[in-house]
Symmetry: C2
Subunit: 464 residues, 2 copies
């Protein structure tokens, strides 16, 4: 019998609770603030989200039961396997044992459906008939389209126009699942119409698309439309924690105890949080784990931005969130990892970073593609450009273990496959890809104007 390459779990063995890091943070999470500088109350979220999800957003409970209805939706593709990367280890000649969780096996190709099905289910329970959302390249839009399709909800996706035109395949995928995907800015909202009146040829932006999706939800007088977000918020992080809980069970089956290093890429923070938070809980309780969120050097939120209160979107429709931010007007360079091009970061991930529980790292795009090519050639999976950041950090850590001569256990989350994002690989292989590290003056340009906003009191970094 050969060595075991991967471990499945049965549906019965799938975790039945979500883990809420907010319950265990040494310093309580600070609240989002309204435009007046006062904390936002749950009721103020009510026009946008259903109350059952708002309750999760503000919940102080450590464990939250996953309803049977959500479990049944997750069983469509979960639990996902944990693989041992024997062939990558061999290619690197490292004494480290590398494991990866394969979240690319969902029908939408990433971890995003974990929260999409939960959000769609809670909205349906609340009597909602229709969800709106925004999407950039289409990962989140297609995940929500998938979830709404399974539950018979209508789904309206505002997709940034330049992606809508240049990347038609995720739009077609949403169509196959019955979603209505329109280019943003659209003529269907006041926000969109106003922008089009001023500039009919605008390429659009995620900020505009968020504004349109929220407007479309709020303006439906029947009250049957809500808005859905794929990252950043607490309840989204919560829904992803099934990933890390499964990893723990699977590492145990592989005969491993606590891993030495846990790695995930981080844009808004959701796949990282889902992977890492169950291990952060162990670290709070004394375990010695190096937990690494990995971001692009061109959009270095956790590693270089100040911690402050900032808006989640360009149009300032969202409340002020306590987070590391490059400024809500910051426009990240056009790297291929579209899902990591976000100016802010989940407040929970930021709080854990502030507490010293995480060890963030920024990596250049070129090194990420080099690492992804090595992974494809050894382990056989062509990963998403976002995921290539986690692969690159894993290879860095495996090489470090080699230098140190230590048999470390490294786990990373393979958050998605790259089958709908192959252009970056093609450009890299043709030598056409450029790299980009954010200059200091850009950070200052976009963050200095934020000095007028309220300041969070737990800022321990002294950067601000």
């Amino acid at each position: 019998m050969s060595k075991v390459s991967k471990v499945f779990l049965s549906e019965k063995e799938m975790p039945k609770h979500w883990y809420n890091l907010a319950a265990d943070l040494p310093t309580p999470l600070q609240p989002p603030l309204g435009p007046d500088g006062n904390p936002v109350t749950p009721e103020m979220f009510a026009p946008i989200f259903p109350m059952n999800l708002i309750e999760q957003e503000v919940s102080p409970e450590r464990w939250i039961d996953i309803p049977e209805g959500v479990l049944e939706l997750l069983y469509r593709w979960r639990p996902t396997p944990l693989h041992r990367a024997y062939h990558l280890e061999q290619a690197l000649g490292t004494p480290a044992k590398i494991y990866y969780k394969n979240e690319s096996l969902s029908p939408a190709g990433s971890h995003k459906p974990n929260t999409a099905v939960a959000q769609a289910w809670y909205n349906k329970e609340f009597g909602i008939k229709r969800l709106t959302t925004e999407t950039g390249a289409g990962q989140w839009g297609s995940a929500l389209a998938f979830a709404c399709s399974l539950l018979g909800l209508e789904c309206k996706v505002y997709m940034v126009r330049i992606s809508f035109d240049q990347k038609p395949f995720r739009k077609m995928l949403m169509g196959a699942w019955g979603a209505n995907c329109v280019p943003s800015p659209s003529t269907e909202t006041k926000t969109g119409q106003a922008i089009l009146d001023k500039d009919p040829d605008t390429p659009g932006s995620l900020g505009i698309a968020i504004s349109e999706a929220i407007e479309a939800a709020v303006m439906d007088e029947s009250g049957q439309t809500k808005y859905s977000l794929g990252s950043v918020l607490n309840h989204v992080m919560l829904h992803q924690t099934i990933i890390g809980q499964e990893i723990k069970k699977q590492l145990e089956i592989f005969g491993e105890k606590t891993p030495d290093v846990v790695i995930g890429c981080a844009g808004g923070g959701s796949n990282f949080a889902g992977t890492a938070f169950p291990f952060v809980a162990d670290k709070i309780n004394g375990a010695d784990i190096d937990i690494i969120p990995v971001e692009p050097a061109s959009c270095p939120t956790l590693t270089r931005a100040p911690f402050l209160y900032d808006h989640g979107d360009v149009a300032k429709m969202t409340p002020l969130l306590p987070m590391y931010s490059l400024g809500h007007e910051f426009i990240p360079p056009p790297i291929h990892a579209g899902g990591l091009r976000y100016h802010g970061m989940s407040p929970l991930v930021c709080a854990a970073t502030l507490e010293g529980l995480l060890n963030p790292r920024a990596i250049h795009q070129m090194e990420c593609y080099e690492s992804a090519i090595l992974f494809a050639k050894t382990e056989g999976i062509v990963v998403a450009p976002e995921t290539s950041h986690a692969v690159a950090a894993t290879i860095q850590e495996a090489n470090k273990a080699k230098e140190e001569g230590k048999e470390k256990v490294i786990v990373f989350n393979l958050s998605g496959h790259g089958l709908l994002d192959l252009t970056g690989y093609d450009k890299f292989l043709k030598g056409e890809l450029t790299d980009y590290a954010l200059p200091e003056e850009d950070i200052l340009k976009y963050t200095e104007p934020l000095a007028d906003l309220p300041k969070p009191s737990m800022a321990k970094t002294g950067k601000w």
Copy 2:
């Protein structure tokens, strides 16, 4: 605890042998013939294939051990889960129980890697350094690129030029796995150059690409290059039988005995054979199973073509194979299921059809897309255009069970996902898709000239 949605197997439970239907066919399979009308000897295949694979091609053994090295390659993604399609059943209101085997979870997105890794491994064992092949839309080319990448073999893919230009993504995928993919006709072979000299703007064809790939293998004087084929041949069918064997184990875990209906789409025959042959063995031994290969109405090989000896390719480079054929010069209409656009069919699948062991069916493209959309909305997976034919037949059978009021067990193979083939869905949803059933005169036009070729003696259908 909710109902079980799907069953995994551990790597330990994965079948360790391939099943060879040739051993059990009531009438022995007739041999391929050379240009002189005499049977081709194993030695005559030697310039193209390594001898260890030729031995499998002509083997009379019922069970062939899967070498440990191949098992380790299959463990990268296998065993694949068997799902129960509760939600499709519910939508149809059928008393039938529908199961599907999910072969879309391989890194290349289909069942093709099952034989790609086996062929690459045997070639490497034989001392081969480089494989050549042809590909149409790119499914097979990317599967072989994946396999060669894992084993450190060079891979050269001749891709039909019109697909190379119009469908760049599978080409990029092959590139990520390190394969060298060129448009066919190319300037790299005599065949390609001659065709380009005559018509520099030719869109190419699978026939031309096959000729180029074989020429490139044969012309390498070092003897270190061989050719690899993704379907039709006996050893390819053999390698796929792991699918049906896994299904049997998984049905047992679900508490099912022999299924009533087994379904797979059929172009060259490999995913169908892999799924069905282990059940054909049971049928030969008396089990009552309806086994249905499904083909497009526009390319109705098993359902409407005569059984005869014909070439596998347009350029007549291959031996004459005993099969149902629409004629080697037949050019199928441009339906989206590119993998089903083949004039012939695996001799083993044809022989089983002749023996009355299979019940082939042809379905129109429009019904296939309608069925695939229903499947996407209920079960959540966007299937490949090829696979949509299996889904359509499954829905037909489930509706028949409803009319008859019978609780049948139906199993089909979900041979691949459609993430790299979304254009057909888009056109279908926009109402731009056309359908096409092959007119009788087209069949006659391409098959009547074949009357001069040798005739197989086991033709029981009386069609020829």
